[in-house]
């Protein structure tokens, strides 16, 4: 039966309707299967991008859509003097430069710990370190808000018990950034797993050779581990920096959606949200979104350039 069908198929193939060749048919099937994405890309990505580029040149307010005016580059000119935008850029960049590397270092440390051959129950520990990723972000933020409460939170209870100063984490413009950094360590799960995959890809012969040559632990970490896992360090850095520019939920909840205290949690994305959906300045918010896109693109391109210099790629292929 199978053979019979084959014969029938092949005899029919050349004369297929409208004389389509097999290759054309294969192409059509391919386009058919990817068509959901193509339609979605046009409807939800390409057209909205063009539209938001246009809106960024207008004073669009969704409450009065008919009163839209073309105002040229006025939104972009406004950016240079907008104190909220400049503050939000400062807050976001500071977080990206100070907190992201610390978080990455912690994630790498945890990955090395749960990859250690002398550790019992490695899979168990991996799951526990990953688990907070699965906690809904609003819930985990509430847990941390409780933990960091100045009078009833355990962190300050512990600090006071040790005779150390106990800051009012969430209401102090200085301490709220370290507080958000602490919350952020619950988000190391993905980073840790990606570091782990990188660490497992380092050939053990390299470490053995280094030991024979008399290299200590620090030397083999610096001379073997770091260079060998540089691609995943690089990948994690890009994802984390882009993530900082998208940072929203924790800042929104901690500050009741206002960027309190004293604008210290006015992250870029929170400021954009307030402009667009708080004050309905959607033209200006579109311009902010495009600035965000340019920043993210620049970070990616710059890191890729830098990456080319120090990232190790096995055998130089790809």
């Amino acid at each position: 039966m199978a053979i019979g069908e084959t014969t029938r198929d092949t005899t029919r193939a050349p004369s297929t309707s409208r004389g389509m060749s097999l290759a054309t048919r294969e192409s059509l099937s391919g386009y058919l299967f990817i068509s959901p994405w193509i339609i979605g890309f046009i409807a939800f990505t390409a057209l909205p991008m063009l539209a938001s580029l246009y809106l960024s040149l207008t004073d669009f307010d969704p409450r009065r859509p008919e009163a839209i005016h073309f105002i040229g580059l006025a939104n972009y000119a406004k950016m240079t003097t907008d104190p909220n935008l400049l503050n939000s850029l400062g807050v976001t960049l500071r977080f990206g430069i100070i907190v992201v590397p610390l978080t990455m270092a912690f994630a790498l440390g945890v990955a090395m710990l749960v990859n250690h051959p002398r550790l019992l129950g490695r899979n168990f520990f991996r799951s526990l370190f990953y688990m907070p990723m699965q906690i809904p972000i609003v819930a985990s933020t509430l847990v941390w808000i409780g933990m960091l409460n100045a009078s009833t939170g355990w962190l300050d209870l512990g600090l006071r018990a040790m005779g150390l100063p106990a800051p009012d984490w969430l209401n102090s413009a200085i301490w709220v950034t370290p507080a958000l950094a602490l919350m952020g360590i619950w988000g190391i799960g993905n980073m840790m797993l990606i570091f782990l995959a990188g660490l497992q890809g380092v050939p053990t012969e390299l470490y053995e050779a280094a030991r024979v040559d008399g290299a200590g632990r620090w030397a083999s970490f610096r001379r073997i581990t770091l260079p060998m896992i540089s691609p995943v360090i690089f990948y994690n850095a890009i994802i984390a920096l882009i993530g900082t520019f998208q940072y929203f939920t924790q800042a929104y909840i901690v500050s009741n959606g206002r960027g309190d205290p004293a604008g210290a949690t006015l992250f870029y994305n929170l400021n954009l949200y307030l402009e667009g959906f708080g004050y309905y300045q959607m033209g200006y918010a579109s311009a902010l979104a495009w600035l965000l896109f340019v920043i993210v693109l620049t970070i990616t391109v710059v890191l890729f350039r830098l990456g080319g210099k120090w990232v190790y790629e096995a055998g130089g292929v790809r």
Binding site: P62, G121, V143, W154, W186, G276, L297
Partner: protein, 360 residues
């Protein structure tokens, strides 16, 4: 000590092996205890959450109260209730009920031996700590359950997450199949375009999309949170395509020779072989949708009836920010299902991260 060890070791096992075993054992014990300490500190906030959720609100503000949920112990003596204190005596710390408070000395009753009558203790009772006994206070959970309307929030969350997962998984399977099994002009360029959408911040498309959904009258409904997922997304397609590429093509070809068309091959050959990856994608997407906050906040503003857990919980925090016991109880309710599912399916989760994150 070190001088004595080698001869002994040599006598028993012939030297180095025993010492090496001891070293190995110390290394294992050391690493494992280090990991236990780090993970305990890392997860301490969860212990805080559980402990706070089961405390009576008054325990939080009482000085000297323990960290675990507890109530001050009372003892009934001759028909009256008396508070129990930790009293330092010659036989160590005793939990005694204070029956006759006095300035410099007080009368106590030992609850274990009330028949012995009142014992006089020299000292100021005001310097003593109350004796607390462990006890779970479950009213926070039931109060939070009602105040936040948990059944409605949970129903909304499950409905939104399920519908958007169905759309995302079905569409991503089709698109991944198209990219992994067919040759067509522009395939590599289109695939790169798909991948590049990963770094496109959603804010860039947000405002026109919002304006259009608003014009459709979709704002305040679930549609903007569900419909866009029926058009595949880069992460899911990428993960599935990587997996589909590992399925041998001979199976497709065998089915094709048997006369199966492309849809048939997808359904009967590719999907059954890719179950693991499809489960991973479904779980990821389901809990991504469960946790999503930003878009839900924007699109469901003003319609509390349709709000899922993320939005409901954030509003709850706004209203009850001064009641930590209620907030922590609500947090437990919001996280219990995702965390339980994680422990049941941890391999699927963790494998999925590594496939999307590392491989090219």
């Amino acid at each position: 000590m070190t001088a004595a060890a080698p001869p002994l070791a040599r006598a028993v096992t012939g030297g180095a092996p025993l010492r090496r075993q001891i070293n190995r054992f110390t290394a294992i014990a050391g690493m494992t205890s280090l990991a236990l300490v780090v993970v305990s500190a890392f997860l301490l906030p969860l212990l805080f959450m559980v402990s706070t959720a089961f405390k009576e609100p008054s325990q939080l503000t009482t000085p000297g109260a323990p960290l675990y949920p507890a109530t001050p112990e009372q003892f009934e003596y001759q028909g009256e209730q008396y508070a129990v204190y930790d009293v330092p005596t010659d036989d160590g710390l005793k939990a005694w009920a204070l029956v006759e408070p006095g300035r410099e000395q007080s009368g106590f009753v030992d609850p274990a031996h009330p028949e012995k009558g009142i014992v006089t203790w020299q000292g100021r009772w005001r310097t003593l700590n109350q004796h607390w006994s462990f006890g779970l206070y479950t009213n926070n959970l039931s109060n939070a359950w009602q105040l936040i309307n948990f059944p409605r929030l949970l129903g909304n969350t499950v409905a939104i997450a399920t519908l958007s997962t169905i759309g995302a998984v079905l569409s991503s399977i089709c698109v991944a199949y198209g990219f992994s099994r067919f040759r067509f002009p522009g395939r590599n360029g289109l695939f790169l375009l798909l991948l590049s959408t990963i770094i496109l911040p959603l804010q860039v498309t947000l405002i026109p999309t919002f304006a259009v959904f608003s014009a459709f009258g979709w704002v305040g409904t679930w549609l903007p949170l569900i419909i866009p997922h029926f058009f595949a997304n880069a992460y899911n397609v990428f993960l599935l395509r990587q997996y589909f590429l590992t399925i041998p093509r001979e199976l497709d070809e065998a089915a094709m020779i048997d006369g199966a068309g492309p849809f048939r091959i997808l359904r009967s050959v590719v999907v059954p072989q890719a179950k693991a990856a499809i489960v991973a994608v479904s779980l990821f997407h389901f809990f991504w949708a469960w946790n999503e906050y930003f878009l839900t906040l924007i699109y469901l503003r003003g319609n509390q009836q349709l709000a899922p857990l993320s939005v409901g919980l954030a509003q709850f925090q706004g209203v009850y920010s001064t009641e930590p016991t209620l907030l922590q109880a609500a947090s437990i309710m919001a996280m219990i299902i995702p965390v339980a599912v994680f422990f049941l399916a941890q391999r699927a989760f963790m494998r999925g991260v590594v496939i999307t994150g590392v491989e090219k």
